[in-house]
């Protein structure tokens, strides 16, 4: 079967590999020239750059595999992943050595460890469980992670007194493992839904709701006549500008709001068409909806590009203070991640739309996926429990109480309760299949909110990450 496919596309079989290989070589060569000029070859930034290049190559090859189904790409893709992982490992080791503590203490360091774990898990899943397409999903995430890292504060910051504890490492390691297991169960539940013959248009609906949600949240920053509010950045202190405690200074970027509004209209179109399909019972709308997804991806990319250009380097006025204030992408990591995540989700949908049969052929069968999802949660749940317990014990030593109802704590408890609900339904009520898969997806949504949402939206004691 695989060979047949390669023979079908004899011309494209090696072209992508050669192209990706050449781009990697070219990018590394350019970087090498720059490095030779500056001297320090094995700095963390360079290692990360190398990791980024390799991951990008791997991502391109995995995507190429996902789109064309050419299995020979996989070999080169995993080779590139290995190379990226080695560079990433060196970056982690370098960081650890420089900082004198494991890289868990800031969002930047967490991302560094997270990307490493993700790449390692990808290779394990591929080699050991033969889930080959997994790289198509995880590598783009890794790339986004490395790109985000370039924007965050990366200098080694000394640990504040509360973080000087062994329990930091215990707590964070457990959290990373638990969250990785939750992420895996989410991916497996999604694959289950594919194998369970959930209609492609339902994925369209889910992707659309997700994207509409993103742009609806983004548009809460819409200001006045087409402006768009972002947080001002203090380049000298490398921090956001505060008017008062916990009150950030927003500046308005003119006209960017209009673009966001336009994109909002574009992402709402596929959803409207989907609803029309359901209401009118006319499948003709679906083809239009799929085309609308394609257009929305283009517009979303445009929004991302303009957002990056306008925010990266600019001075804008504010409604709350006089004068012009600079902005920086580092002050808006939340919006940036949301925009990238939207594009990414829609691309995955397109992959499913165009290559569903290949995916179904490559993935394990539904029953197996259902079982592995449950098993992953069986691993995630005790880890979550221990993570919360370690956090409580540490809080008892640092803050004087084992439970403070801090937002992060509360949300961790909520995550725990959601998975506890899943386990009860599965074990005592015998929930299998779709309902269980939906529950696993909900659980991961809560995990993501606990990890990112609480940090950016709710203030609390747990202000490190």
């Amino acid at each position: 079967m695989a060979r047949a496919r390669v023979e079908q596309h004899p011309a494209t079989g090696m072209t992508l590999v050669v192209m990706v290989g050449l781009s990697i070589a070219f990018l590394l060569f350019i970087a090498f020239l720059n490095v030779v000029k500056s001297g320090d070859i094995l700095s963390e930034a360079n290692l990360l750059y190398a990791a980024l290049v390799f991951y990008a190559g791997a991502g391109a090859l995995y995507l190429g595999f996902g789109v064309t189904g050419t299995e020979s790409y996989i070999k080169f893709a995993s080779l590139a992943t290995w190379a990226g992982l080695i560079a990433n490992t060196a970056a982690v080791a370098h960081r650890w050595y420089e900082a004198g503590h494991p890289p868990f203490a800031s969002l930047y360091e967490m991302l560094l460890s997270f990307v490493w774990t993700l790449a390692a898990l990808t290779l394990i899943a591929e080699k050991r469980y033969a889930v080959k397409v997994i790289g198509t999903v995880t590598m783009p995430v890794a790339i986004v992670g490395v790109v985000l890292m370039q924007l965050l504060r990366s200098e080694v910051r000394p640990l504040v007194p509360a973080l000087q504890s062994t329990w930091l490492h215990v707590h964070v390691t457990l959290a990373m493992l638990a969250y990785a297991a939750c992420a895996l169960s989410f991916a497996l539940a999604m694959m289950f839904l594919i194998q369970d013959k959930l209609k492609t248009e339902n994925f369209l609906a889910a992707t659309s709701i997700f994207t509409v949600g993103i742009y609806a949240s983004v548009l809460t920053r819409f200001e006045g006549w087409g402006g768009f509010n972002v947080i001002a950045w203090d380049a000298e202190n490398k921090s956001e500008v505060f008017l008062a405690k916990n009150v950030r200074l927003f500046v308005t970027i003119p006209d960017l709001g209009w673009l966001m509004l336009l994109v909002f209209a574009a992402v709402i179109a596929p959803f409207t068409l989907y609803i029309l399909t359901r209401v009118r019972k006319n499948d003709g709308f679906l083809a239009v909806a799929n085309r609308a997804v394609f257009i929305s991806i283009l517009l979303q990319s445009l929004a991302l590009v303009f957002f990056v250009i306008r925010v990266r380097d600019g001075r804008y006025s504010s409604l709350d203070a006089e004068g012009l204030y600079p902005t920086n992408l580092a002050a808006s990591p939340f919006i940036l991640s949301a925009l990238v995540a939207g594009i990414f989700a829609n691309l995955l949908y397109l992959l499913l739309l165009w290559r569903r049969e290949d995916l179904e052929r490559l993935l394990p069968d539904a029953d197996t996926l259902d079982r592995i999802t449950y098993k992953t949660i069986c691993i995630a749940f005790p880890l979550l429990t221990l993570m919360i317990a370690a956090g409580a014990y540490w809080a008892n030593r640092a803050w004087g109480s084992y439970w403070n109802w801090d937002p992060k704590e509360t949300w961790a408890a909520i995550t725990w309760l959601v998975y506890a609900g899943y386990l009860h339904m599965r074990i005592t009520r015998g929930w299998r299949g779709r309902r269980a898969a939906y529950f696993a997806i909900l659980g991961f949504g809560v995990v993501m909110f606990t990890f990112f949402g609480v940090t950016y939206l709710l203030n609390g004691l747990h202000s490190y990450a």
Binding site: R157, P158, V160, P161, A162, Q164, S165, W167, R371, C378, I379, F381, P382, T385, L386, A389, A392, Y393, W394, N396, R397, A398, W399, G400, S401, Y402, W403, W405, P407, T410, W411, A413, I414, L417, V418, A420, G421, H424, M425, T428, R429, V454, L458
Partner: protein, 488 residues
Amino acid sequence: MALSLHSAIRKTWKTLSSIKTGVVLIILVVIFAIAGTIILQRPLTDPDEMTRAYSPAMLRFLDATGLTDVYHAHWFVALMLLVSLSIIAASVQRFPNAWRYFARPYKSPEEGFRRVLPIQAHLAITDEEQGLGAAERAFRHMHLKSERIVRPDRFSLFAERNRISEMAVYIVHASLLLFFLGYFVVDAFYGWRGFLMLSPGMASNQVEMKSGEIRSLPFSIRCDGSGEETYTDGTPKRWWSKLAVVDNGQEISRKEIVVNDPLVYHGVRFYQASFGRTGKLDRLVLNAIPRSGTGQAQEISLGPNQIVSLDADTKVQVAEFIPDFVVQGGHVYARSNDVVNPAVRLIVTSEKTNKVVNFWLPEIPGVAENASSPYNFEPKDLKTGVFTGLEVSHEPGQWAVWAGVILMAIGLTFVFYVVHVRFWVVPVQDASGNLALWIGGSANRNRDAFEQTFKRFVEQVEKELKPKFEEAAEKPAASLPKTTTAGR
């Protein structure tokens, strides 16, 4: 009447123990917990910030319903109590069944059970004893202890592993109850948290509670020193305090505490929570230069209320220290207690003339009489007083919580990773009268892995059956291996 009351209780109990109630309660807890993270919470948030965030009517409503302090509201605690009751009811209702299962394992399977058991196998045997013996050897091979069950009408083997796994769920639920007991009962009624501020040299037993009331400890804490170390960029690196416990006038123990390493005495914990400057003078070092030009400049060190003689006639003392001064209408005022813009008023007195001069550092025009002082003073060093903020807590319930954590870790390990497996081996006769060995197995979780184990067991029994079988069938078979060795 009595009957209806009885049935009402039964109904309540049944409702409480149902899984539906449990799920509804969990959803309620989740909703209110989320509300507590979105609505600003009282003790943590500034009252000013609350009034800024909500309209007065809204704030009144939130305060009245307890939504501004969700986790300590009576109804939230009541909800958690309901959750506990639901866990207890569910456990009590299901426990007898599980206990029967645990205490009186089903060892001798009847025909009806044998027919429907999903995992089973049949092996042909020639006589009962030979079959059971082979099975016993196979059990030993798998490190399982088997027992022979003799019933009037049947004769069989039974082996099992990890029966405790059937009880695991109750261990987990018991650990949850321990959490609730520790947090919502013991610590809610007997625990307290407060704050104690000490300056070096000071001792106190008066702890200020969150509510503002003062709690007197039966012993006092003395601070022997406190300090701060910072990184080169100014962020704090370490806060420390040297504390001593004084009980009945005697010093019991000493400890230098830092963040993450508290002092514990009689179940009361003292945490390094903050560190700061009091805005009061500790020591001022000055260069005193006589105006007459004959004397030598001398360095003097002044503490609060300390008088230093500069010569036989002149004395100097600190009259006032203002950490952050501002001048308005010919008067000097303190703007804050932060040492950002300090000023000091010295009194220089001459015994012979009884002349008193107010010397201000820095010189404040209109107020200072610096020119008429016999000495000029140059500031060299200023040390202001420090205080250490100690978080004080008494949480006897934490021991229940830690016990719960350990119990839960054990329980979850059993729930997810320890499987109760059972094997039965019964010699049976099939319809045509042939003797066979019926082998059945069951596992309470992870069935597919158990199927493999079961397959291995059946193969092992087959292997154990073979030599005997051959031996019984044809005597010379035993010499077969010998022949092969000889042939080599």
